[in-house]
Structures are given as structure tokens and as C-alpha cells.
Symmetry: C2
Subunit: 305 residues, 2 copies
């Protein structure tokens, strides 16, 4: 499929590869990062941590996996099946292994012999949290600081559309007012943070890319309820800016699934803000050039570069 | 299968969960980490970076995936098929999706409808490097600093046997002398580093857990050639200490596969040292207690805690 901004994507991608900020892996949307790129990711990540520290969040770090049993209880299989990453392995005998090797040798698909493991790639940093939060929340609710790689199977030549990337999230679990306040405050705070590193961000009501015919209805409903805001920045295009962060109100979606209640016994509401760390780095390289040593002084100060 | 040290593993695992240093995910060998645990991982990781900086390594950071096409050219499918993580997704139509949802609803296995993506979970931090290193090395060879999550499907109640964990590696590509020197120097350097944080480490000749009947022969050969050394530390048992780092000489294994040659036109040799960051943290918590604020002053100084 020819995308409208293919040429701009290809140009920026080629420049990033040429500068060796990105290292090709042979798979679209999967790259190695140079030390310079990784340093920008880490500096912005630390900036997020410093800003979020005022809320004294609990820090949790999950690997980029989520339990298959928990995944099955969420809606991802229904709403984003085409984006999932299901982890499979070989559980057979010596004899079955010989057959696997024979298939590889003659170029046949050997993957049908594999079996699903107990894990999936996680599609968001907050997915592994909810199953651990079962029960009654404290009066003041909870605020959790999460960061992990997340996987979304959407191969693209757009260097900002990665199949695997890091997301730094703050999740709020509490009353509707606590969750909604978190969502709205982080829209403003996120805009301030992006402005502080001289990125031209604005908030837009958005929808997730729900799968199939039914998905179109869900996208409309999500927009009508204004559940999802993205902070968008021009990277490869000014008329189609790229989401670098999003702030989402989940209502009682996750809480009802896993059984998370407020102190007064109602279903909790949850909300999250997520910063896409590689995308923010890509926006910074686009706006300020490929050498962070020559970025504007104020930006360098904010990032402690 | 009942392992000889099950009781000791279960005791340490329960203590870690009770202290909330580990957060259960519902899957054996997959845990969330508390902020305290993560901080120890990051501090040791930074210590590795400081020590390795003397070699002025190139820094590369790959996500925890490797191209399936590259994976197929390596030996992992032959030697460790039971440890692999193959990433699959749904590539079907709306109609096929309805059938998938029907299967989930009645508790049937829906995973057979999935198709393999272009990626695998990487089993080692250095796997994605070799395909990018194709060609002729400079006279002085190359030294590369890598860190990533790695996946190995070996569910266990032993809290030190994680299915996914971080490995900080230094890889040397060059002449046989350059590679072997790297391997041997890092055995000594690794012992010094572990001694500096008051861990009682020693080097042992080791073998990888090759699969099946053929694997037993490969394990004997690897030991006879002394290609792999592990640095082991008592964690849950003093008579069966746990490998927290390893230093390996690959001969021309990866270089012949991908075509990496020295300046004088011969097949390059490669070697790597890898520090298992979660295991080192688990060794530190075992040796010095669960509160890093009360660890010995010298250990805190080395880790900049």
C-alpha cells in the first residue's frame, strides 16, 4: 500500500541510517540505536522521571511480556489481533526436531511445529500492571510509574512507526475524578514538557486503530467520548504530525476485567499517560539536528545533556 | 521434574515476593521488579559501562528482537530449539477473526490461526549485532557495547532462572588473538568487578544447555575446547552456585555465517562477555540483604548507591 507520506518517511529514514543513528536490522520498523540515540532516549526518560517524581509514584518495571492467560481476559485479541505478538517455542521430541530441521533445510515453514508459550509480547507498558492490582485501592488511589518495550506488529518504512519501542507511563487507579484528573493534567503537563525541549506539540482527540469492520464503530465511540488524547508533533510532515505521547481514560474497563475497586467498594477507574521515547528522540533529532551537542542551550539544560 | 534445590529456590523466591522486590506475573520466571530492584540493576549496569569505557567501545542498543531470516542462518534452531521465542501474529480477515474469537470463547486453542512475523525474541544481546557487521574489520578490530533483554523459554521456580532478563555484553570482533584476549581478560576483570561488590565469585569451564542427544556431544566438545567460562556465585546454594556472567570464545562461528573478515582477509574470530544484570542484583540482595541503604559502604561506593 502506498502511503501518502512515503517519500518524506523514506528521506528521514535514509538520513537516520546514513548518520548511523539507526542501524538496519533487516526488518522494517526494527532498528538498532546508536549510543547517541540511546543517550537521548535515556535523557528524556530521566526528564519524565523527574517531572513524575512530584506524585511519589510506585515504581514497577516489567519485562516486555504479559501473561497469556491475562492477555486473553483483556480485549486486545478482539480489538487489535493484527498487532499482537504471541510468543511460541518448540516443545517436541528429538524426532520432531529432526523434522523441524529438515523443513528449514528445504525452505519449508517450520513454525507450524511450534506451540504457544505462557507469554505474549506486551502491547502497552501498563498491561502487566492491572492483573497485579486486584483488590481494594487505598483512599488516595494509586499512581504507578512504568516503563517497558512494547510490541505492535505494524511493519512500515516510516522510521517513527516502530514495531518495538519504549513507553514511559504513569497510570492512575482510583475514583473517576482521580483518573480523569490524571488524564487531563498530563495533557497539559505533557505539552509543557514537550515545549520545554522546543517541540511544537498540540493535543488532538484520537482513536486507537481498532481492527476490522467492528473496529470502525469502536473508533467512533472512543472519539465521541473523547477518551484518548494524543500529543502530536510534526516530524516527517507538518500536515500529518506524529503522536509522541498519549493520555487515555479507560473508565472501568481494566478494573472490571480484573476486579479492582475503590475504598468505597465501587469499580475503580483508570487512566494512563504514555511517552513514546524513541518517537520523542526522533522528533528532537528532526527539530534540532543530529548532533545533540549543538542543540539549543535550553533544550540541553532540560535534558541534562 | 523435581530439581535438587527446589526448597532453597522456593524459599528465596517467597522472600523476594514477600519483600515486593519481585512482583508475580502469573508466569514462572517472569516478574515485575520494584523500583529498588530496578535501581540495583541500573547501578550495576552503569558500573559495567564505566569499567568498559576504557576500551572506547561502539555503543549499540537493539530491542529484544532479531530478524527471523538472520536467526534461521544461526545455529540456535538446531542447538536450542526448546529455548526459542518465535513471535507470531494474526494476519487474517474479518471472517477468520470471528473464528478466532469463537475459539477463545469456548476455550479452544486460537494460536494455530497465527502466522510467524519477521522477528524472533533474541536469545542473546549480541545476536542482532553480527548480521550488521558484515565485511572487513579495521586493523584494530571492533569492540561493541550491547545491552538488551534476552528470552529463553525455561520456566522455573528458581528466581534466578528468568525467562526474560537483561544482559550487558562487550563483543570483540578481530583476529584470534584479539578475540581470545578479550575473552580471557574479561574473566579476570569480571572476577575483580564482582569482588568489588563483595560477591564471592569464581570462574568455571561451562557448556551451554544444547538440545537433545546431539546436544550432549556438543556440550562435551565445548568443554574440551574450554570455549565458555562462567563466573559463578552462591545464591540459593553454595554447592550449586549460579552463573552471573559468562565469557565466551566463538572461534569463527558467527563470522563465517555472516561474512566478517579481518583486515588481512581471514575469517574474523569473535568473543563476548555478558553480565546477567537481574542475576547479579539477586546475588547482591542475597549477600547483603534486601535494603541497599544498609549494604557495606564499599559496595555502595562502587555502585554509586
Amino acid at each position: 500500500m502506498h502511503e501518502p507520506h512515503d517519500a518524506a518517511h523514506e528521506t528521514y529514514r535514509a538520513a537516520l541510517l546514513d548518520a548511523r543513528l539507526l542501524i538496519a536490522s533487516g526488518v522494517p520498523g526494527v532498528y538498532g540505536l546508536s549510543g547517541v540515540f540511546e543517550d537521548v532516549v535515556e535523557r528524556f526518560d530521566q526528564y519524565v522521571t523527574r517531572v513524575g517524581a512530584q506524585f511519589r509514584p510506585e515504581v514497577m518495571r516489567f519485562p516486555p511480556l504479559v501473561s497469556r492467560a491475562h492477555y486473553e481476559r483483556m480485549d486486545h485479541l478482539e480489538t487489535f489481533p493484527n498487532l499482537m505478538g504471541s510468543v511460541h517455542t518448540f516443545m517436541g521430541t528429538d524426532q520432531e526436531h529432526l523434522e523441524l530441521m529438515r523443513k528449514r533445510a528445504v525452505g519449508e515453514d517450520w513454525s507450524a511445529a511450534l506451540r504457544p508459550t505462557a507469554v505474549m509480547m506486551t502491547p502497552a507498558a501498563c498491561y502487566p500492571l492491572y492483573p497485579t492490582a486486584v483488590g481494594v485501592l487505598p483512599q488516595e488511589g494509586r499512581t504507578v510509574d512504568l516503563r517497558s518495550f512494547v510490541f505492535r506488529h505494524e511493519p512500515s518504512i516510516d522510521p517513527t512507526r516502530l514495531q518495538i519501542f519504549r513507553m514511559h507511563e504513569y497510570v492512575r487507579l482510583g475514583t473517576p475524578a482521580q483518573a480523569l484528573g490524571h488524564r487531563d493534567d498530563w495533557i497539559e503537563r505533557g505539552l509543557d514538557m514537550l515545549a520545554a525541549v522546543a517541540l511544537d506539540a498540540r493535543p488532538v482527540v484520537a482513536n486507537d486503530p481498532f481492527f476490522g469492520r467492528g473496529g470502525r464503530v469502536m473508533a467512533v465511540m472512543q472519539r465521541e467520548q473523547s477518551l484518548k488524547y494524543e500529543l502530536v508533533v510534526p516530524i516527517t510532515s507538518s500536515d500529518a504530525p506524529t503522536a509522541v505521547a498519549s493520555s487515555n481514560y479507560h473508565l472501568d474497563h481494566f478494573s472490571r476485567t480484573f476486579g479492582i475497586t475503590t475504598a468505597d467498594g465501587r469499580d475503580a477507574h483508570t487512566a494512563c499517560v504514555g511517552f513514546g521515547l524513541e518517537r520523542i528522540a526522533l522528533a528532537l533529532f528532526k527539530a534540532h539536528g543530529f548532533d545533540p551537542g549543538r542543540w539549543p542551550r535550553d533544550v540541553r539544560r532540560v535534558l541534562a545533556l
